[in-house]
């Protein structure tokens, strides 16, 4: 039976909760290390190591480096481990200065100067993006990632209809106003970026009426390119489907401190993420 371990660095445990929901693995794989679920204090030799969360403290870094030596395959799980996630908002210089100055403590792990994605520190064999990845994606990562079939983008999975005659003239903002069922959120003026966000989540947010915030990161078309290419493609979609002035979209996409894209702008540390390695 394939053995796997889950190393949780600085994160929210949402990835772990999602993994618990994928109950099929219980019968098929042996979980040998996962502090949330199993009382075991060290990562033993395993076939697969799932790493969630960002590298935020010296202890995170120590545990990560120690654990990867035990693993045949290392999988970076969730947005924090891959591209920084919400912790990225804390990498802004003014914010870093604030909490590094105020949060010194005795006898607890020290904070690193900033939060790092896992592949800035160790080699990664497979990326499993999402905030969190769905149970279905976890099962695919554990069993046969190459065989996993999904739409290229969230748009392809959303099920809302694009309507030619609805061309909003201004952005509605992030979530204001009553959401019409079944109609594309861009047609309604919402800043939805599902058109270039990686598919595979089955679009739960947009189906429920909330714009896609891009937690799965760029689709295959953009993942090997600079983030500017991704932003440009979103602007092109808005230009084609709406009459919203390009400046307005541009300003919103670069909204204060890029908060909307809080999921995607970590220190990529010069590592390339080939699309074959991203589920």
């Amino acid at each position: 039976m394939k053995q796997f371990a889950v190393l949780q660095l600085s994160g929210c445990a949402g990835c772990e909760v999602s993994l618990l929901n994928a109950e099929e693995w219980v019968e098929r794989y042996q979980l040998v290390y996962m502090p949330l679920v199993v009382s075991a204090y060290d990562v033993p030799a395993v076939d697969v190591l799932l790493v969630s969360g960002g590298v935020r403290t010296d202890e995170d870094l120590y545990k990560l480096r120690k654990a990867v030596k035990q693993a045949q395959q290392v999988v970076a799980v969730g947005t924090c481990a891959i591209s920084g996630g919400v912790a990225n908002l804390g990498n802004r210089d003014d914010v870093r200065a604030l909490f590094l100055a105020r949060e010194e403590r005795y006898h607890v792990p020290h904070l690193l100067p900033k939060s790092h994605p896992v592949d800035a520190m160790v080699g990664v064999d497979l990326y499993l993006p999402g905030c969190p990845p769905t149970p279905e994606l976890f099962m695919a990562a554990l069993s046969d990632p190459a065989a996993y079939q999904a739409s290229k983008t969230v748009c392809g999975e959303c099920g809302r209809k694009k309507v030619r005659e609805m061309r909003p003239e201004h952005l509605l903002g992030f979530q204001q106003g009553r959401v019409l069922p079944d109609i594309c959120l861009i047609n309604q003026g919402y800043l939805c970026i599902g058109s270039s966000t990686r598919g595979g989540c089955r679009a739960p947010c947009t189906r429920a009426g909330h714009p896609c915030v891009g937690c799965r990161g760029p689709s295959d078309a953009f993942i090997e390119k600079e983030s500017a290419a991704w932003l440009a493609s979103i602007q092109k979609v808005f230009a084609a489907m709406t009459d919203i002035p390009p400046d307005e979209v541009e300003a919103a996409l670069r909204s204060p401190h890029l908060a909307l894209f809080l999921f995607q702008f970590a220190d990529y540390a010069g590592t390339s993420r080939p699309k074959e390695k991203v589920l």
Binding site: G14, V26, L31, L36, A87, G90, V95, G209
Partner: protein
């Protein structure tokens, strides 16, 4: 001086217990949170209306409570009253949160302590007469899954919900989806009750083996309340039994600083709170000590059995876990009641105008009262505070740790039961470290 360090597992997040001993005397017993992400700093400058999507990421276990607290804080700042449908869907969200959390705490975190194993995955004893599952492991995962399904239904996304927005919710719940969820809960209810009965028996056996229910000194109990029925969409914070009396204070979230003392700690990334010098206890036992009835049949039967067996109020620490079981049953029954009503009509939200100012949002999270406090300038978050339930329990955790340390450490030896006892004490409070340090 000897320092004993106990790493902790089967809790949410990273923490450890450090006990210092000198010549058999316990000098200190500390609960240390060892992670920090700094949400009160990192949300600065974020557009206020994005908070309901950003803050669930404080914690993947308690995300729903943060989602709803954020929306309430913004509505408080903007002066918005959401329509009844939105309130109902938010109540469902919080019930899903309660169900998911209490099932996780009860089965994933503490059942292994009752069974003397390292994880739930080892509790493979067969279960008879259940259609949905054949082992304790399978049944337990099945019940907690119903909680995340309920969050998914009421919140859109199943871990970090998106449906609650300022002014209401983004959509209702279609009749067929509600009926399917109700059927799932109906199937989960007898499984949950069966597991709770097993857990109850195992707890009595544990009590028999170790000879105590743990720290049973009185404390100041704390919960968010609203109206007569249990309501996790709380309006006020209530303190009970602080100086021997019954209710000693009821206050709004915005007045929390006049009642609670919030202090930082130099050995932990989590602070602690107290009430006029008293140790506070929040979470399941606080609520069960306050409630006389839940108004759903099976949960009420368990509640009466609990009060009859242990008294009301009761202070014994390990009863926190049983109290969680009662709430698990309540969450399922109450969600089933709500799902009977139509939830797909159009009146999902009210229009509003964002404005600058200050807002407080309160919910009763599974671990106790959760407050979000935002100051908004130019539509952006200028300042944010998160008042976390686990932080209210920190002094109670340390008091209970001292009790077990003194029980198992003598001048001659350290009884190795101490390691397990430390785990049981901490897990009884079900602390959430990601939240506590945020």
């Amino acid at each position: 001086m000897t320092t004993l360090t106990f790493p902790l597992s089967r809790i949410e997040g990273h923490a450890q217990v450090v006990i210092e001993v000198q010549e058999g005397q316990v000098k200190s017993a500390r609960f240390q949170a060892t992670e920090l992400r700094g949400f009160d700093y990192l949300v600065r400058g974020a557009p206020a209306e994005q908070m309901p999507v950003i803050v669930p990421r404080i914690c993947g276990v308690c995300s729903t409570a943060h989602h709803v607290a954020a929306v309430r804080a913004l509505e408080d700042a903007f002066g918005v009253t959401p329509p009844p449908l939105a309130l109902t869907i938010r109540e469902l969200l919080l019930l899903g949160q309660l169900l998911q959390n209490q099932a996780t705490s009860l089965f994933v975190f503490t059942l292994p302590d009752r069974m003397n194993v390292d994880s739930l995955l080892e509790v493979t004893a067969p279960v008879l007469d259940q259609a949905a599952c054949s082992t304790v492991t399978g049944c337990a995962l099945h019940v907690r899954q119903a909680g995340t399904h309920l969050i998914g239904l009421a919140g859109g996304q199943f871990i970090h919900p998106v449906k609650a927005v300022v002014g209401g919710v983004t959509s209702g719940i279609a009749a067929d989806a509600a009926a399917a969820m109700r059927a799932e809960l109906e199937a989960a209810l007898p499984v949950a009750c069966m597991l709770l009965d097993t857990y109850w028996e195992a707890s009595l056996a544990l009590r028999e083996r170790i000879g105590t229910w743990g720290d049973d000194a009185p404390a100041c109990y704390m919960a968010a309340v609203a109206g007569a029925r249990p309501n996790f969409y709380g309006d006020f914070i209530r303190m009970m039994g602080c100086e021997g009396g019954d209710v000693c204070a009821t206050f709004a979230a915005r007045d929390y600083r006049t009642h609670l003392t919030v202090e930082e700690s130099d050995y932990s990334y989590a602070g602690h709170t107290s009430y006029r010098g008293n140790v506070i206890r929040a979470n399941s036992l606080a609520r069960v000590n306050m409630w006389t009835q839940l108004a759903t049949s099976r949960a009420d039967a368990y509640l009466q059995r609990f009060h009859a067996a242990f008294g009301q109020p009761t202070h014994a620490l390990l009863l926190y876990d049983l109290a969680r079981g009662i709430e698990l049953v309540y969450a399922i029954e109450r969600a089933m009641e709500i799902l009977v009503d139509p939830l797909d009509y159009e009146d999902t939200d009210v229009p509003y105008t964002p404005r600058d100012g200050e807002g407080f949002g309160l919910v009763e999270a599974p671990r106790g009262p959760l407050i979000h406090h935002y100051v908004i300038e130019d539509g952006l978050i200028a300042q944010a505070e998160f008042i976390i339930p686990t932080v209210h329990n920190v002094l109670a955790i340390e008091r209970a740790l001292r009790v077990v340390a003194e029980r198992y450490i003598t001048t001659e030896r350290v009884n190795l039961e101490l390691e397990r006892a430390v785990g049981r004490v901490v897990r009884a409070f079900d602390p959430c470290i990601a939240c506590a340090t945020h």
